[in-house]
Amino acid sequence: MTAALALLLAPLFSGSVKWLKARLTQRQGLSPLMEYRNLAKLWRKVWIRPHTTTPVFLLGPILALLGTVGALVLLPVLPGPAFKGDFLLALYLLGLGRFFQMLAALDAGSSFGAQGSYREGVVTVLAEPGTLMAIAGAILLGDGFSLSGLPELGVENSLVLLLALASLALALLAEGARMPVDDPTTHLELTMVHEAQVLDHSGPLLALYELAGSLKMLFYAGLMALLLPGFKPLVFLGVVVAWVLALAYLETYGVKLRYLRLPDFLSYNTLFGVLALLGAVWRF
């Protein structure tokens, strides 16, 4: 259910960020709905298969999408399957997609793909522990050890949940390949992380990647929505709108961090995660 909603919303989400960024820099900008037409166009196009490639080149975009959709299926914004420990499966399904995306980037045999691949690896190594600890902290406060039993922000659990929300926000920027970590609009080899990996994919393969990219951000937004009080689908929409505004602002007025400064930035993610888990264990 959640996955279907997210699939419908994802192109609108990335389209609106692009539109708002254009407006903030005094440009006209394409309609936010353009992204749907763009995906349809990409799906119909001829795609190019580099002559060095293997089936892994195709599996990259396929499993990047399937992994993200799988993670979204487990996210109970709208009712869906739930069981003990589903949050771990959701995070690791994202990991499965990332694994194949990194491999597919290496498959073309160029230095760009490989660069994107190892940078993605470094971002993962930096961001994963904090993210997991933040979610685990929230899960420990809730009941049932599952995403469907997550607690909502209130007075008594405010510290843990606020820390978890902060950690997830930083994770969204890192995992969604957004501004201080990665510049999604650039094609400069010094800075790109996500773009470098998808550079050799075209046509329908690129469409799958683009969809998977926006879906991944919606996954993190959905996780944050679960921690906020209110009617979940509405809260989810609210969080998404907030993220559109925040991302457009950040990417218009912010700069990309130097690659070597990433550990400093993402150490906050880890710190918040550790504190959230500590808070949950000691019941602050």
Partner: protein, 551 residues
């Protein structure tokens, strides 16, 4: 019914080593022994006879994969083949024997015999294997010393001393953190089937011993759990980071073994601190899964003539069947969802999060291990199997080798579909993994066919419009890992003309060797050959003995 009858085929194997049809005889009898162990172990584990039977099942499954593989592989090593054909069945028998005996002199005898056979199997590889074999030998001495302390002293010493001995004795075998360095030194130099056995099966005996010790010597004091948990997790992180810079394919796989064993040790440690069945499920399921996927990957590495990662590349197109099998092994090894290693980690996470005091924080370390493992296996598979070939690499193909790899991959798939085979007797349940696996497989297949039907053009990789791409433009093994290695300051990395990664813990075993030699030299001064000194020593001994007796 005594389980000893399962050893009969191995006797046949040993006998057949001297006959002209030794390879066929070896394959057949080792396969029979594997089947017997799988049957007996499966039956014993399902009816609750205890952990040794699970170990028998694991060893049998690994042996089943080894049986068709061995003759084809040994045909490539004709000079030592008859010795291997003699030693490998004995080694298998000694491992199964260690698992089945109860503690006592028989156990110690088999344990030392297993260590000695392992040493021979490594040292057979020739002068290149000398350092590795020596490290293995010293490690087994250390392990033996710990076990003597525990087994001979448990009537006189307190539980603390006994468990310290057990930690040393079994922990060194299971590559407990600061003593793990023998493993990446010894395993890569042995021939591939032996590496698969050492890494897949022998190290598990240390884990089995630690688990069984609580039944033999009583429950461990709490510090044992903490030590296992902390050292296990630090070892896992350390091994992955160090392994990221490893150039040798089998060396990298050996570091990955240290990581996996670290996770199993931490599962056991957390179980000692708070007995949650989930942790036991993680402990046992991970062992079986690790034996299968590491066996698959080590045997797969054995089909390559070149093992330096920076000289491989593009193997998938050259040998697609090997590539597909290796991909499945590495997806499983990286701990990704449909694989059985993920199921084990999934239980470990939940067990740790329910643990006492600060144990839940260990989940963060586990997440770091997961992310590093992802990076680690992307590097191994991506640089070796994908991209442009960096050199001419010969791939040995034979039906027997492929059959062996296929058996292990199939068993791994079976474990992913039905983890209940291992978990049922423990009373642990997981989410329905077979649904996930089937759905992912069907959907990915549908998408794959759909994409291939879309109009497509085969073209060169985009090269920025400059000179055409060359294989040298791809990152090499150290280049791919460098950004991650910089994050971990305990490794010193030198880049430049001769890139080099230092192993800060490399001195553990040579240092121990020096210490042992110094001690021997000290004792040697007593053996001066002078009759006067010997008489003086005798007199002193008499005085001391009389003094002790009279006072």
């Amino acid at each position: 019914m005594s389980p000893l009858w399962t050893f009969l085929p191995l006797g046949l194997a040993v006998v057949s080593a001297g006959t002209p049809w030794r390879f066929r005889g070896l394959s057949l009898s080792v396969g029979l022994a594997g089947l017997a162990w799988v049957a007996l172990g499966g039956m014993g584990w399902a009816s609750g006879w205890g952990a040794p039977y699970l170990y028998l099942l694991l060893l049998g499954a690994l042996t089943l994969g080894l049986a068709p593989y061995l003759p084809a592989y040994l045909a490539l090593h004709p000079r030592e083949a008859h010795l291997y054909a003699l030693l490998i069945p004995l080694f298998l028998a000694s491992m199964a024997g260690v698992a089945l005996t109860s503690p006592g002199f028989g156990f110690l005898f088999l344990w030392e015999g297993m260590a000695l056979l392992g040493y021979f199997l490594i040292a057979l590889e020739g002068p290149n294997a000398l350092a590795g074999a020596r490290a293995f030998f010293l490690a087994s001495r250390l392990s033996g010393a710990g076990l003597y302390l525990a087994f001979l002293g448990h009537a006189h010493l307190g539980a603390d001393w006994v468990w310290a001995g057990l930690l040393l004795g079994f922990g060194v075998k299971a590559a407990l953190f600061p003593f793990h360095t023998w493993l990446p030194q010894a395993h890569p130099v042995a021939i591939s089937p032996v590496s698969a056995l050492l890494s897949g099966a022998m190290t598990k005996l240390g884990l089995l011993g630690l688990y069984q010790s609580q039944h033999w010597f009583g429950p461990p004091p709490p510090w044992v759990g903490w030590v296992l948990l902390l050292l296990g997790l630090s070892g896992a992180v350390y091994a992955l980071v160090r392994g990221l810079g490893e150039e040798d394919l089998k060396g990298a796989l050996a570091y990955s073994s240290v990581e996996n064993l670290g996770l199993m040790l931490s599962a056991l440690g957390a179980y000692f601190l708070k007995p949650i069945p989930l942790l036991l499920g993680a402990f046992f399921l991970h062992q079986v899964a690790h034996a299968l996927f590491k066996g698959l990957l080590f045997l797969g590495a054995g089909t390559l003539a070149e093992r330096r990662i920076s000289h491989l590349g593009g193997l998938f197109r050259k040998a697609p069947e090997l590539g597909a099998l290796a991909l499945w092994g590495m997806v499983a090894g990286a701990g990704l969802p449909p694989g059985p290693v993920f199921l084990a980690e999934w239980q470990l996470y939940q067990g740790l999060l329910q643990g006492p005091f600060l144990v839940p924080l260990a989940a963060g370390a586990l997440a770091l291990v997961g992310a590093l493992a992802l990076y680690f296996y992307v590097r191994l598979f991506g640089l070796a199997f994908l991209g442009l070939p960096r050199g001419e690499v010969e791939v040995y193909r034979s039906q027997g080798m492929h059959l062996g790899l296929g058996v292990l991959a199939g068993l791994l798939l079976l474990l992913a579909l039905a983890p209940g085979l291992v978990l049922e007797p423990l009373g642990v349940r997981t989410y329905p993994n077979w649904v996930l696996l089937t759905l992912l497989g069907v959907l990915a297949g549908a998408f794959y066919r759909g994409l291939l039907r879309r109009p497509m053009r085969v073209y060169g990789t985009w090269d920025c419009g400059f000179h055409p791409l060359t294989p040298r433009m791809q990152p090499n093994g150290l280049g791919f890992a460098e950004p991650a290695l910089r994050l971990f300051p305990f490794l010193r990395l030198q880049v430049g003309e001769r890139p080099h990664l230092e192993e800060p813990l490399a001195e553990v075993y040579p240092g121990m060797g020096h210490l042992y030699a110094r001690l021997a030299a000290l004792v040697q001064t007593l053996q001066s050959g002078s009759l006067h000194l010997y008489l003086l020593l005798q007199l002193l001994t008499l005085v001391v003995v009389l003094g002790v007796v009279l006072l």
